[in-house]
């Protein structure tokens, strides 16, 4: 983010804050540009770009809170959004609103930002798509997927003197390659589009696709599994949703029991907004500096994520994990990281006598959050492992499995990790895992 761009967005936020006539207020200004080139059957079939400016105002006075949000650049936008927020506040009921945070004095650490990502042209994206398609056509496969770039500039100011701004970028190359009777998946994500090797993504998907042909059925049941980071990402994300939030703990719906060992000692999971392997970002949606929180420390439930309201209830400081306030969802993890182990992915496979190699999970949903039970399907690359070697392709299976139980029987963790996107499109950095038991139900 150039200084001029930062000043312009801060200026808009400050101007908006200046329109507030009474009480305290917070303004979040977000300018976003997003581009996405989509291909199917080796052809670009959708190709889009969008840009917008969004202003969100929270006004607090007389124990009442009002919020308004406007997206769309109009001349009187700052005034309109403030008037709407003040109107919402005046008509709202009295409550015990969470106060606005004050400046925490922490200097902004760098956000994940790449000029190259911001400047990626439609022609560049078509070229990247062509590189993936080339990898498919070399093996007589069809490529489906997308090349996307996003630049987000955020400014947050409030009446207590909070004044934060950051620019971030996110780039992705995703593909599914389809052959005669099966498919393969691969993806690359980075703040920097030049950090993604489109050809390598294509080659990986083509390799998986080539091996995932003529899949045969296998009986449901419990199997040892080796999961790629694409699959581990889904597990870690759902685990966070089901229990890392302090609000979930306060409402007695979290599986986490502080101080209890619930998983294998090799399992450590944190939310680390500064990890350079993910998409670092320095502050949350209240302008509070985001800190690393270790949720699972060597298998032990260690900590919770806080925003200002949940921190106030527990008499602690916010960890900087707030969504836009007020909300009823609670603190949110956007930078999940699972610690690496010492093995290679091949080592993990070599340790399995009979089990399944799972490339990817699909349509994962919570079944019983307190027991961390999820269900979902395998997709685009499920293989039988026999005597330490990946063998024939097997048809996709449904699993219904407690994540805590699965992570309480970890036989191996790779040292190599991969950045994947969760369902909410936040970055999740995870290794390959070898698990002793995983329940496939149909």
């Amino acid at each position: 983010m150039t200084t001029e761009e930062a000043e312009e967005l801060l200026s808009i936020a400050t101007e908006t804050l200046g329109q507030v006539t009474r009480g305290q207020a917070e303004v979040i200004a977000v300018r976003q540009q997003q581009e996405l080139t989509r291909f199917a059957g080796n052809v670009i079939h959708q190709n889009v770009a969008e840009s917008s400016l969004q202003l969100r105002v929270r006004v607090i006075d007389d124990s009442r809170v009002g919020v308004a949000q406007v997206r769309g650049e109009v001349a009187d936008g700052p005034l309109r959004v403030v008037q709407a927020a003040e109107q919402a506040r005046s008509l709202s009921g009295r409550s015990d609103p969470s106060p606005l945070p004050s400046p925490d004095g922490v200097a902004d650490s760098p956000a994940a930002y790449s000029v190259a990502t911001t400047n990626t042209s439609p022609e560049d994206r078509a070229g990247i798509a062509a590189a993936v398609v080339d990898a498919a056509t070399r093996q007589r496969l069809e490529a489906f997927g997308s090349v996307s770039t996003r630049t987000t500039r955020t400014a947050i100011v409030n009446s207590n003197g909070v004044r934060r701004h950051a620019a971030s970028t996110q780039a992705s190359v995703i593909t599914v390659m389809r052959g005669r009777s099966g498919a393969g998946y691969a993806a690359g994500h980075s703040p920097d589009i030049t950090g993604i090797d489109a050809n390598a993504v294509g080659v990986e998907a083509a390799d998986t696709c080539a091996r995932n042909q003529d899949a045969t059925a296998i009986d449901p049941g419990e199997y040892e599994v080796v999961l790629t980071p694409y699959a581990v990402t889904d597990m870690v994300e759902h685990l966070a949703w089901m229990g890392f939030s302090a609000l979930a703990k306060q409402e007695r719906r979290s599986f986490m029991h502080p101080g209890s060992r619930m998983m294998s000692e090799t399992v450590s999971i944190s939310d680390d907004p500064a990890d350079p392997g993910s998409f670092p970002f320095p502050f949350d949606q209240e302008g509070v500096s985001s800190r690393r929180v270790v949720a699972i420390d060597h298998g032990v439930c260690a900590g919770f994520l806080y925003d200002t309201p949940s921190a106030r209830r527990d008499g602690v400081a916010s960890t900087g994990h707030s969504l836009p306030q007020p909300n009823t969802f609670g603190p949110y993890a956007r930078h999940l990281v699972m610690d690496a182990g010492g093995a290679s992915p091949d080592d993990l496979v070599a340790a399995v006598k009979r089990g399944l190699f799972v490339t990817r999970l699909w349509y994962v949903r919570d079944v019983h959050p307190l027991r961390t039970i999820i269900t979902g399907m395998t997709r685009e690359g499920t293989f039988l492992i026999e005597n330490g070697k990946i063998g024939r392709a097997v048809r996709d299976l449904r699993f219904t499995q407690s994540i805590v139980d699965a992570l309480n029987d970890v036989r191996g963790i790779s040292r190599e990790r991969k950045l994947a996107l969760g369902e909410d499109e936040s970055g999740v950095l995870t290794p390959w895992l070898h698990l002793g038991r995983f329940a496939f139900t149909s």
């Binding site: 969008e50 917008s52 007695r252 997709r379």
Partner: protein, 496 residues
């Protein structure tokens, strides 16, 4: 009653908006587009939430912008912009053309659109009482009374009630001559009551899960929901579920309530009959479909009790409109006719692949996103049974209410659903409340086992407000008319 400042009215009737759309088309055509369309959209949303007796959120949102879609050199391009002035619209049109030219580098066969008569007209959701004309005080009063009703039940740890109102005004113009103004109004509301113990969390929702039930209607819909009048009953059910027995396990008869039947239709009929999925547009994301074109007109999707339609003309559904976002008139399409797979939802481009015309299912969730084939109101047409009759004629089974979890594979075959409430049925009677029910199956086998659907008296239009599809992701509001229905020999088990 205070006028809500954030909501601009009569956007569509502004000559400036129409001029901008014309300018977008002219700019695109001059730059080489052989087809272009422009949508100018203003979307206003009111959200109100009461949690545990306090007003947790009063939020007023407004979203305004324009999207320009073009075909240049035989390929698609699209740009969305929120700067609604001449320079902004020129930029969007020029960018869309540039993007299309880039697409053409990897698009050897030109896009062809099925013919459509260029429509000119206006549509507005019929309402008895405009929800934006009802005061926020009255709306909060409904929520606070609902909260009070839940709070009368000991053992409830979290109470949350919410309302949402949407007004979407959009103007569509195309180089083929379409000029369409539409105003869509939605009203939604619902509540959740959560009870917890050391080893169990149980939530009951009303009228539907996912936070609320929503329809294209006015304030009268909220009054019909009667949220306060159901608060105590639903809260009592949540508490009772904490100590209820686990759902029985095995193959048995399953009866679904209307809300769960609606979601079953959504996942196992709605998505697989989207023709863009069938043709591979979503293969890298949402997946494809088991309902391939070679099965059209020959495949036994379900029993003869099963007729499903995609009906954008049915009043009250979240997929009810005048024209879709390509300017094609709202239609009723038979997807499954007495068990036989009979049709798809289509667009002008995909209709060419099966030799037909678009049946008007292209919808975008915003000005900044392209229209995709989306469900309109995908309905399970009413049968001739009733819930009471279905239970009375069931020897062993479960009656399942209100979705709790949902998952289906990427071809829409292998599914598993969980529900909040379950009632064990034995010898024609409800014998006990059961918790943590799951059922699973394979789509055609499941629908072929359907032996009863309740009649029009119990048929109701439900709303799904979280239907995801596309990249960048779009979240669409879709409707599903459904009634309780019964299935035989289904695998049931508890989540434990």
């Amino acid at each position: 009653m205070s006028r809500l400042i954030v909501h601009q009215t009569h956007l569509l009737y502004s000559p400036a908006v129409r001029d901008l759309a014309e300018r977008a088309l002219d700019t695109a055509a001059a730059a080489g587009a052989r087809y272009a369309d422009c949508r100018v959209v203003n979307r206003s949303v009111q959200e109100l939430t009461v949690k545990n007796g306090e007003v947790a959120l009063v939020e007023l949102n407004e979203d305004t912008g324009a999207g320009v879609r073009v075909i240049v050199d035989g390929a698609w391009g699209f740009a969305g912009i929120d700067r609604l002035d001449a320079a902004g619209i020129d930029d969007a049109a020029a960018l869309a053309v540039r993007i299309a030219r880039a697409s053409a580098r990897l698009h050897p066969e030109p896009v062809h659109l099925a013919p459509a008569s260029p429509a000119q007209g206006a549509y507005r959701t019929p309402v008895e009482r405009d929800p934006f004309a009802v005061s926020l005080e009255d709306k909060l009063d409904v929520l606070l009374r609902t909260d009070a009703a839940m709070s009368s039940v000991a053992g409830i740890t979290v109470r949350e009630a919410s309302l949402e109102f949407v007004k979407e005004e959009k103007y569509f113009a195309s180089t083929e001559g379409a000029r369409i103004a539409q105003t869509i109004l939605e009203s939604g509301g619902g509540f959740d009551a959560t009870a917890t113990s050391d080893d169990e969390v149980q939530t009951r929702s009303f009228p539907n899960s996912f936070g609320r039930h929503q329809v294209c209607a006015g304030w009268e819909a909220i009054e019909q929901f009667d949220l306060p009048g159901n608060g105590q009953r639903i809260a009592e059910e949540a508490v009772a579920l904490l100590t209820a027995d686990l759902c029985p396990s095995g193959r048995m008869t399953v009866i679904l309530d209307g809300t769960q039947a609606a979601l079953q239709v959504h996942e196992s009929c709605g998505h697989p009959t989207e023709l863009d999925r069938v043709l591979g547009s979503e293969a890298a994301y949402a997946g494809m479909s088991f309902l391939t074109p070679d099965l059209l007109g020959t495949f036994a999707y379900g029993s003869d009790k099963v007729t499903m339609t995609a009906d954008a003309t049915r009043p009250g559904g979240l997929g009810t409109f005048g024209w879709d976002d390509e300017g094609v008139a709202a239609q009723r399409v038979v997807l499954v006719d007495r068990g036989l797979f009979s049709g798809y939802m289509s667009s002008r481009e995909t209709a060419m692949a099966i030799g037909g015309e678009s049946n008007g299912a292209m919808r975008a969730d915003s000005w900044c996103r392209i229209p995709l084939i989306r469900m309109t109101n995908v309905n399970l047409e009413p049968g001739d049974s009733s819930l009471e009759e279905m239970i009375a004629t069931t020897e062993r089974g479960v009656f399942l209410e209100t979705n709790r979890s949902w998952s289906i594979d990427d071809r829409r075959l292998n599914f598993q659903f969980g529900t909040q409430n379950g009632w064990e049925i034995a010898d024609g009677k409800r014998v006990r409340l059961v918790r943590n029910a799951l059922y699973r199956g394979v789509t055609p086998e499941f629908w072929r086992s359907c032996d009863a659907v309740a009649g029009p008296r119990e048929w109701r239009m439900w709303g799904v407000v979280n239907c995801g599809k596309g990249e960048p992701a779009q979240v669409m509001h879709v409707g599903h008319g459904a009634a309780p229905c019964r299935f035989q020999n289904v695998q049931v088990e508890p989540a434990s």
